[in-house]
């Protein structure tokens, strides 16, 4: 499936990735993304119908023992928060 990166796709990706793209960035970005996707298309040459995907290179996914361990206290955990009040983080508004 041939992919063309146009203004519509950029708009969709802005929303998916939650990254605002300024108008001045758009032309360069479209050109770069088109070139990179073209480079990705190389793998289309292979017949992969009988190959299983390899998600992770080693067996993993072990669990640790369910025991308490030391963790950060609230002050430490919030030490990099710019806007906070009474030990809570102030986020953007959720209602208009």
């Amino acid at each position: 499936m041939k992919v063309i990166v146009d203004d519509n796709l950029i708009k969709r990706l802005e929303r998916l990735a939650l990254i605002e793209i300024k108008d001045v960035e758009k032309e360069d970005l479209k050109k770069d993304l088109n070139e990179i996707i073209e480079f990705f298309n190389k793998i289309d040459e292979l017949d992969l119908s009988k190959t299983e995907p390899l998600f992770h290179p080693i067996e993993s996914g072990k669990l640790r023992n369910n025991v308490e361990s030391p963790s950060l206290n609230r002050e430490e955990a919030l030490s990099n928060v710019k806007r906070k009040e009474n030990g809570y983080i102030i986020g953007p508004s959720t209602v208009e």
């Binding site: 499936m1 990706l13 998916l16 990254i19 793998i43 299983e52 430490e76 806007r83």
Partner: protein, 471 residues
């Protein structure tokens, strides 16, 4: 060599103050040109800490070490060379930092890197590029370019980097230093600011193979805080291993993709292995031209997921706070991330979106399987696979940065080890017009000590170790 410094500090041949003063003098002299550090610690604090550590002991008692700015250090700003984290101060240490501190190492500063480790030249850093101490007009490679430059410029003997697709080995090759991308799961990633989990490892960087081994033996081991670490501990520090009888497969398809001068230097190295009694055979990796797109598809997919955490609310760049969640997120991320990081997140989001997931992501993972299967077969015949680390000489600043596909192409030899979890080591092979060339050895999964042992032997044959650039 770190053992010399340790001995001098222990016997009082050099005082902690003299050691630190000398180091800072060197930094003062060349750092303006090199730009290896994002954050350099206060000298008096460092002297005090070295004094304490020399007294309390440990295998690295009082040695200075430079740490890539992607690794969390309690109380020391950790930026990942991004505006997004330019004022972030971690409230905890990464596991590798805890381990180093326990052995008496003292952090001198945090080194420059490509933003979020996304780059191969250290030019995507928000804090400006690092320059190669061997030729100030050229890049030191990346993304751990600051750590490699700090070694080559003669600041320190030890450094840590991280390697997602060659980010330790590329800078090692371009600066005539040593770097190991460890077997996946042998070094804890707890506290490493994540880029692509299934590919990356923290690893040692040094000016000789012995120091590389000491550092690896300290930072490796199982960690309950990282579920991807395996039950693993080194029984003893890596030691010299003669190469007589070693079966080496030279990857001719990778060799063919490299510049003539690079190839020449590697041929020279192959002859040295051969004279020392190793068996040399030319073989092929297979799927070499597919490894690179598959790697970038996987890396960008994982990146888009990992970097979703930067919301400008809990930590990091937080200039905008008016409007809905979506608006606030999007504005902070649009301004807080640099160009290359945005490209990769956007592409990762695209690849994982409905309709394209199978076409790109799943197919890339299938290529990953093919590459791993081929490697398994090759390692039934060979102990080590040899190739150039980088296909080209260190590029000039600006030479590749404006052409992403050209920049990605530099990683052709290095991504293979990340896709398949195996260890890979880069050591100096020679110079061309005073520009360093590195040779890469890949080994079977968990053969890290063998690779280090071989390089301890071979560095004496080549006499290319403990090199400092004449800056």
């Amino acid at each position: 060599m770190i053992s010399n410094i340790l001995e001098k500090l222990k016997t009082g041949n050099i005082t902690p103050e003299e050691y630190v003063e000398k180091t800072f003098e060197r930094i003062k002299k060349v750092e303006e040109k090199v730009n290896a550090f994002v954050t350099l610690r206060n000298k008096e604090e460092v002297i005090k800490e070295v004094e304490e550590k020399v007294k309390s002991g440990g295998r690295l008692a009082g040695s200075l070490i430079a740490i890539k700015d992607a690794i969390s250090t309690k109380g020391i700003r950790t930026t990942c060379s991004s505006l997004m984290l330019s004022d972030y101060v971690p409230p905890y240490d990464a596991t590798v930092i805890e381990k180093l501190k326990k052995e008496g190492a003292v952090i001198i500063g945090k080194t420059n890197m490509d933003e979020f480790a996304m780059g191969s030249t250290t030019e995507t850093s928000y804090f400006g590029p690092t320059r190669n101490p061997w030729d100030i007009d050229r890049t030191p490679g990346g993304s751990s370019g600051g750590s490699a430059a700090a070694l080559a410029a003669g600041y320190v003997e030890l450094a840590l980097g991280s390697d997602t697709g060659g980010s330790i080995r590329a800078p090692a090759a371009f600066t005539a230093t040593f770097g190991l991308k460890p077997s996946y799961g042998t070094v804890s990633r707890y506290g490493l600011i994540a880029y692509a989990n299934s590919l990356e490892q923290i690893g040692p960087m040094a000016k000789n193979a012995e120091d590389l081994g000491i550092l690896y033996s300290i930072i490796s081991g199982e960690d309950w805080r990282d579920a991807t670490t395996i039950k693993f501990s080194l029984e003893k520090e890596p030691y010299e291993i003669p190469v007589k009888g070693l079966r080496i497969g030279v990857l001719s398809d990778i060799m063919e993709m490299s510049d003539k001068v690079v190839k020449g230097s590697i041929e020279n190295m192959i002859n040295k292995f051969s004279s020392e009694g190793a068996t040399i055979d030319y073989t092929k990796l297979g799927y070499a031209e597919y490894a690179l797109p598959a790697y970038y598809i996987i890396a960008m997919s994982e990146a888009s997921s990992n970097l979703a955490r930067y919301d400008g609310v809990r930590y990091g760049f937080s200039k905008y706070n008016q409007g809905s969640w979506v608006e606030v997120y999007s504005k902070n991320r649009g301004e807080g991330f640099g160009k290359e990081v945005k490209r990769r997140i956007l592409l990762g989001s695209f690849i994982l979106s409905a309709g394209y997931y199978e076409q790109f992501y799943i197919r890339a993972l299938k290529v990953r399987r093919l590459i791993k299967s081929n490697l398994d077969q090759l390692f039934s015949k060979y102990d080590v696979l040899l190739s150039p680390t980088m296909p080209i000489l260190p590029p000039r600043l600006g030479e590749v940065i404006n052409d992403p596909v050209k920049m990605y192409a530099m990683d052709i030899n290095t991504v293979i080890a990340n896709l398949s979890a195996i260890p890979a080591l880069s050591m100096p092979a020679g110079f061309y017009n005073n520009l360093p060339i590195g040779v890469q050895m890949m080994g079977r999964y968990l053969s890290d000590s063998l690779l280090i042992g071989i390089s301890i032997y071979m560095e004496k044959v080549t006499n290319l170790y403990d090199l400092t650039a004449p800056t």
